[in-house]
């Protein structure tokens, strides 16, 4: 359980503990998860897969729920697409 994982958020490496969700990585990187349809920055709300505010692009795939996805080594996360 001590192992750490490195992912990138908008190209910048972030180290997270094993078992961390992608939401955690995004918050550790100091980023909002997404930009709303009227241009507001948004972060996670419900933490349990209901609200869809934590959506990010993971490895090029848009609209992934970051709170429902565990970080994996080398994962590329983008909040700016």
């Amino acid at each position: 359980m001590l192992s750490e994982i490195i992912v990138t958020v908008n190209g910048v490496p972030v180290t997270v503990p094993s078992g961390a969700t992608v939401t955690t990585a995004v918050l550790l990187a100091g980023k909002a998860c997404r930009t709303s349809v009227s241009g507001e920055p948004r972060g996670p709300l419900c933490g349990m897969g209901i609200c869809f505010e934590c959506r990010v692009a993971i490895n090029g795939k848009p609209h992934c729920q970051s709170c429902q996805t565990l970080c994996e080594q080398g994962m590329e996360v983008r909040t700016d697409e």
Partner: protein, 435 residues
Amino acid sequence: MSREVRQRFDVLVVGGGPAGVAAAVRAAEAGVRVGVVDDNVNLGGQIWRGGPEHEKETSAAGWISRLRASGATILCGLRIFHQPEAGVLLAEGHDDLHVLSYTKLVLATGARERFLPFPGWTLPNVTGVGGLQAMVKSGLPIRGKRVVIAGTGPLLLAVAAYLREHGAEIPIICEQASWSSLARFGVALFGQPGKIAQGLQLKRQLAGIKFSANSWPLAVHGKAAVEAVVIFRRGQTEAIACDYLACGFHLVPNIELPLLLGCQIQRGYVRVDDYQRTTVQEILCAGEPTGIGGVELSLAEGQIAGLVASGQMTEAKKLFGARNRARYFARSLDRAFRLRSELRRLPSPDTIVCRCEDIRYSRLSRHTSWRSAKLHTRCGMGPCQGRVCGTSTEFLFKWNPDSVRPPILPVRVESLAAMSSELDLECSGVSGGHK
């Protein structure tokens, strides 16, 4: 097309929280083939969230290890989105599709927090109460952060205790309920030894935290994220600097799947009989969808449902007493934490109500029904399918929710395209129309 996995169960349990785990344990221990499916990455639901390292709570650890030993098949990270035919559910995984057949189905789909809109509530670092706890359990560092907790319900206290234990500073807990209704709630607890112990334990953990009844958030200020929250307290407004506002207004049941399957809903909850059977044959329901009641009620209902689903009616009956006592507590919860009407006036005209589509309060207030608002403003038409704004507009405008259609959660188009894979369709040479 993604990989397809087919499995058949005597008893399929939807939801890996206390009710689902208890149901699965009691059914699997009787030797029938049981599957438990949950959309989260780990078992435990919201209350026991976090996987093995967080299973400190004795009842959680006990039940989950019992489940692991029971031989039940555990399917986490799967999102059920449709029943293409009676006795079959479809679930989407990260890169596969699961076709789950069942003889008996136990719905233990849990609850979610109710969120209410107020100015600034869409800023990053305004989270749910359970929401922030879930994030901390998933690795978000909270040590040294100032977290204002606001809203209503017992979750506020439990989460405050949890966050403080993890190093957060809690400037205040704002509970919208009045002292008098909280006092009545306290009285209702006397029949519940377990609850009192829990209350006392929390009391120790919460010592020194400012707790205010009759208090609620009015607005959040900040540029890129929360900087301060303005609260209403003792008849006045007060600004409190903070890093997070954790805010939730009690819980609402997840009844989308029961609705899709045709289960009758009564006053917002799934209707069940003494044996936890819904109005649809072969489908049972346990836990929060039948009434918000917490862990003990969920465990009792879950066990009954699991026992009934595996044909152990006499065993099930033995738990009726425990279940009915826990239900008494549940009813007291609903009364104590009923939302005050002042909260309907929290949003300003330009407050966003639907966060998926950014629909503001002023656009909604012209409509007379949820359907009209949906159709003409797109409120509730985003990926959350109205789970957030449908719940708040039900309170704000007294609108009734709509019917549900598959998929009950967004899924890949390819998963929808697999819905009748049983039929092995020949698609070439179909005649076309236009439009």
